[in-house]
Symmetry: C2
Subunit: 232 residues, 2 copies
Amino acid sequence: VINIEGTILAAAKLKIIDLSYSPGDSVYEHGAPAHFVYTVDTGALCRLRLLPEDRRSILQFLFPGDGFGYEIGRHHRDTAQALTHTKLRAASREALRAAAKSNARLANLLFAAAANAAVVAEERADMLRFRTATEQIAQFLLEMEVRLSIRGQIDLPMRRYHIADYFGLTVETVSRTITALQREKIIEFRDRAQYVIRDKRRLRQLASDASDFEFWSILKRPSKVRRGRRQP
Amino acid sequence: VINIEGTILAAAKLKIIDLSYSPGDSVYEHGAPAHFVYTVDTGALCRLRLLPEDRRSILQFLFPGDGFGYEIGRHHRDTAQALTHTKLRAASREALRAAAKSNARLANLLFAAAANAAVVAEERADMLRFRTATEQIAQFLLEMEVRLSIRGQIDLPMRRYHIADYFGLTVETVSRTITALQREKIIEFRDRAQYVIRDKRRLRQLASDASDFEFWSILKRPSKVRRGRRQP
DNA sequence: CGTGTAGTTGATGCTCCTCAATTTTTGTGG
DNA sequence: CCACAAAAATTGAGGAGCATCAACTACACG
């Protein structure tokens, strides 16, 4: 949940362990004892939760600099999974807690990190409530550019179904939306992972309001556009 | 965001101010300088955010014992509004911060409160993603019973549109759902505010899975297809 | 080569929203 | 206390957005 960054671990003067994971590996699983806190050195991960009926909910994608793994209770409430080859640095949660007990400065850093996490989580709840699929995915593509782009080229570490589970959509909707954005020449995918933003102004506009984006009609354009109403 | 409870304020030995509000009064508004943190003594409030196009988003309902108003930055990011006659206790945010700087125990209490707020916010984001209107409202009615019931009778301090803005639904959907629950004799409303839970078992069941609830049963045939399967 | 996984595309329909009309409740002044 | 206006809540019809189901393509890997 909470972004325990490298600066915090340095302030605590804790012993750091280096870890390495391959795509698909779990750093920890739901229900496991929460012994460590982690920060991402290189690579990409996601925090997820399994729901009834084979659904998954992805809480967060994690990139270099992000922290995760801190729990209030004794056990992890989520699962952390590597998306690519990933290197982490870990420190003992108990040692961190013990250090915070006598070190007011450290405790205040932790407080600030947790308060920030709460704000971010509330913002996200807001996003999920009111934005359409197109708005959310446009926003997502913009954010991934900020974090991942190399000379304008973005290499997505996650699959379509990760994006779907992050927003509570289906893979079909994600696919259709991305296809529509390509047809409009707003983005361009070289393969399934690599893309370039061609029209950032329109993408930004879509991220804030997709109401004038005629999503389905664009998809149906090759064939005749049927506006005929369904019979009751 | 963060639940700064009375116990925390007591630990900080801060000067406490007593405040009183009438229904509709704002405790603070979006953009105002964040000078104080508050705990609810009596009454009910909500934290909300105004969105484009006359939409509102209610982040949280607040009842006796709940804390609110703490901000990371210098200004409030939300608005806090009284729903009923309300009494609050307030303390200076700066004084709290200053006390935490030298008091590691206090700083750790603040950290725990913030970490808890982050967990709650993440849970809520999850709720909003995957649950239907019926599931969310059933859950809501159960939670209000826990916090507000007096001898089995619940007196809702909020309007229908507050509930709608809390879940990102419309008042019409909230109204239809509540009417359906009454029709099924699961709950019973005396007036718009006061209700009694008549069949808690079924309400609990609906809160976790409303797929077999024949919601539009009067108008439409029930569907036997459940949402959310993903199997080849 | 088959087999499996990821992704795309199409047809159909459920859930909830929008708009509009109506009823009920609340608040105010005579 | 009632009359009246304003606000809140309910009800109905129809449509938008996304899910579901199904079929198909593309690619990886033994």
